[in-house]
């Protein structure tokens, strides 16, 4: 369960050692995953994760439970990573801009592309994905950061599209579009090339 209980957050706000430890332990994977999706480099992601938790400890008292704790935390991490990228001379502007830049490139809709390639046209043939870590990493690296972040948040437990939109500060439809495009591109990149060849029979 990604969302910590209200009681745990209250105890952490009061400085309870066990609650703070539990909070860090339950959120560290999610925070690190967000940092990895934006920084795309383990060392930078580790720096950002540490910064994020320091900021969390300092500003935990200001959290007012008006939004979900996880949404509040993930937004904090996202902003820290965007600042980090700017400081490192790799700014990505706003998460919205990267989607509009992609818009021209992705003229066709996701559904059109997937069906046009005839990838799914042979139900008797098992779908094979190239799943080695390096291939997946390479494919993920080729996605724009906004799509990568949207997909990462999409695979978190209990995070709805509305929550992802709040974390990324984007309209709901833009978030859905990021996820759709991201999945489509990854499906195309990771599917076995042999499948793309027309059946000789």
């Amino acid at each position: 369960m990604a969302e910590p209980s209200a009681a745990l957050v209250r105890r952490a706000q009061a400085g309870d050692r066990a609650a703070l430890s539990a909070l860090v332990q339950s959120q560290q994977s999610y925070v690190y995953s967000i940092a990895m999706s934006l920084m795309h480099n383990p060392a930078d992601a580790a720096d950002m994760t540490q910064d994020a938790f320091i900021r969390l400890m300092r500003s935990l008292g200001t959290y007012r439970a008006e939004t979900k704790f996880t949404t509040w935390l993930y937004r904090l991490v996202t902003n820290i990573c965007l600042d980090g990228l700017r400081r490192r001379g790799r700014p990505i502007g706003s998460l919205d801009e990267s989607s509009s830049a992609q818009a021209g490139e992705d003229a066709q809709t996701a559904g059109e592309r997937l069906t046009d390639t005839d990838r799914w046209a042979q139900p008797e043939q098992e779908i094979e994905l190239r799943e080695s870590a390096s291939e997946v990493r390479e494919a993920l690296g080729s996605l724009p950061p906004a799509q990568r972040l949207a997909l990462t948040l999409h695979y978190f437990e209990d995070l709805r599209y509305e929550d992802i939109a709040e974390v990324m500060g984007l309209p709901l439809n833009t978030v859905k579009s990021h996820i759709r495009r991201g999945k489509e591109r990854l499906a195309l990149m990771l599917s076995n090339p042999l499948e793309e060849q027309p059946c000789s029979a």
Binding site: E112, L114, R119, P123, I127, L129, L151, K176, K183
Partner: protein
């Protein structure tokens, strides 16, 4: 619903969330095939995108949580009561019969030793409020007589104190012990 719409919706929607989509996929081999491919993609991406931080970082974060923790404002007796309340002693002991046996044996030995030393108390009737008699009883007890007969040698006391202090210094929590355990010994 056209296959193209169904595939597009499958990219962002769960199958159970839309009955129309569900009906279409149930009757369309092509879309069912696409769905199985997308399910496989979900599995691959979940394991690739949601990752645990490296152990070093996990350790640093745990340390960070401890640094920012504030000392508890609850008095020690409240914390002790809470801790005892959370402890289910009966089930804990039921899982450790050897511990129960050892504790029982220790209790019997203590009772025997107490009876040997203070067994004479049974010959007296306790007199409530008679402090002078109580002091007399304590002074006359075999334990007091034994302790009174001991020869206290300042030199040996000092020697054993030095041994004790040295032991503490090289122990795990001692000044020297902490430094020794931090030093990594390398074999030649």
């Amino acid at each position: 619903m056209q296959c193209i719409d169904a595939t597009e919706r499958l990219l962002v929607e769960k199958l159970g969330s839309d009955p129309e989509l569900e009906r279409h996929v149930a009757g369309c081999a092509r879309c069912a095939h696409a769905l199985s491919g997308l399910d496989r993609l979900d599995v691959v991406l979940t394991s690739s995108l949601v990752v645990a931080p490296p152990l070093d970082l996990q350790r640093q974060l745990a340390q960070l949580a401890l640094e920012y923790a504030r000392p508890s404002t609850e008095p020690w007796w409240t914390r002790a009561t809470n801790a005892l309340g959370q402890l289910n002693l009966a089930s804990w002991l039921a899982q450790r019969p050897q511990m129960v046996a050892a504790q029982g044996l220790a209790s019997i030995m203590l009772a025997l030793a107490s009876w040997q030393i203070f067994g004479w108390l049974t010959t007296f009737q306790p007199m409530v409020g008679d402090v002078a008699l109580a002091v007399q009883l304590v002074v006359a007890s075999p334990a007091s007589i034994y302790l009174g007969g001991l020869q206290f040698d300042l030199q040996s006391m000092a020697l054993w104190s030095v041994v004790g202090i040295a032991g503490w210094l090289i122990s795990e929590n001692g000044w020297l012990g902490r430094r020794l355990s931090a030093t990594r010994l390398r074999l030649p």
